[in-house]
């Protein structure tokens, strides 16, 4: 009989075990998030990343070996971006009734997100390559990764900054908007979706269905707007 170490080293060199572990870690993260009543800090992605990082560390597996398996999941970022057309299309009728307020909120939120992030980071001495990964932080991950890559930034770092932005937005949105006395659910949702993409949208859906719908609109439109804006703003800071 072959011992465990031999079987492990055989399996760990192929993609199957890493693909499987990626799915299992995400399922575990999602279950923990649900058990916490969807507490903003118990984010399924954050939990899955920590679990997998521990497995890689304990098994002394280099990231490229892990990615051999995980690339099949990673690849779906592109098709997922294309699929974002679906919620946009479904919200089309609603959107036509509030075109001008939506555009105003979108442009203001999108510009302030990129300009203030790059301005603050630059003032604090962050280098240009890292700024390229920070610029698209308010867009949904698949788009942010694409934008960061085309600006010469690290896709990995971009994914993490996106994640942190989403969690930050989801945690602060309700108290911040209450303090600003914004009672329009459309405005609240659109602002959160624009600034904090999918994680913000998931949070808005928990608060009010109309806020959730407008958050979805904000997330989808900001993905497009940031893809056009970020290269120009980035060049001004680069």
């Amino acid at each position: 009989m072959t011992d465990f170490a031999d079987i492990w080293s055989y399996l760990a060199s192929g993609p199957l075990v890493w693909l499987t572990l990626t799915l299992v870690a995400y399922i575990a993260g999602d279950a923990l998030s649900q058990a916490s009543g969807r507490a903003p800090l118990a984010n399924p992605v954050l939990i899955a990343v920590i679990l997998l990082a521990m497995v890689l560390w304990v098994s002394e597996t280099p990231y490229p070996v892990y990615f051999e398996g995980a690339q099949f999941v990673h690849f779906l970022l592109g098709p997922a971006t294309v699929s974002l057309a679906i919620p946009l299309w479904q919200q089309g009728r609603r959107l036509r009734k509030a075109v001008l307020p939506v555009l105003a909120g979108l442009v203001a939120g999108s510009l302030v997100a990129v300009l203030s992030a790059l301005g603050i980071a630059r003032a604090l001495g962050v280098d240009t390559e890292t700024l390229a990964a920070l610029a698209p932080k308010s867009t949904t991950a698949p788009v942010a990764i694409g934008i960061a890559q085309s600006l010469g930034g690290s896709p990995t770092l971009a994914a993490v900054l996106v994640l942190l932005t989403g969690i930050t937005g989801a945690v602060m949105a309700t108290p911040l908007l209450n303090a600003l006395r914004v009672r329009d659910w459309r405005a609240r949702g659109l602002a959160v979706g624009t600034a904090a993409h999918g994680i913000g949208t998931a949070r808005a859906l928990q608060v009010h269905p109309r806020a959730g719908a407008y958050a979805g609109i904000g997330m989808g439109l900001n993905a497009i707007l940031t893809a056009f804006l970020a290269p120009f703003i980035f060049r001004a800071f680069g």
Partner: protein
């Protein structure tokens, strides 16, 4: 399902080709999204075909962040001295962006008599 996936991939492929051909700074999949939006609006058959599959992918969009997220572990040492600056930039700029977006929406909604109602 295969037809829907083929359509989604075709949109992405066309977007990638277009971005490269025109030298646009926009990621190919974003152009693919625009193309899919046109197809969905143009044809009810495309919509009926693509919507269930696309929604299936979107339902677990968070899973797709995981592989790239794991990669950051290798970047943490490089991030080290900049971590505090990045955290500060994210917290302040996210708060400013939410405030700016919500206030701009409310202002223009008031100017155009657009009301927050169910329908």
């Amino acid at each position: 399902m295969i037809h829907a996936l083929a359509l989604i991939f075709l949109c992405q492929l066309a977007g990638e080709a277009l971005a490269r051909w025109l030298g646009l700074p926009v990621p190919g999949p974003v152009l693919g999204m625009g193309l899919m939006l046109v197809l969905l609006s143009a044809s009810a058959r495309v919509a009926a075909l693509v919507v269930p599959v696309g929604e299936g992918i979107l339902r677990h969009i968070a899973l797709l962040f995981v592989p790239a997220g794991v990669g950051v572990v290798g970047h943490l040492d490089r991030l080290g001295p900049q971590a505090a600056a990045l955290a500060l930039a994210i917290v302040i700029s996210t708060a400013l962006a939410i405030a700016a977006g919500a206030l701009a929406f409310v202002l223009v909604a008031r100017l155009t008599d657009s009301v927050d109602s169910d329908d």
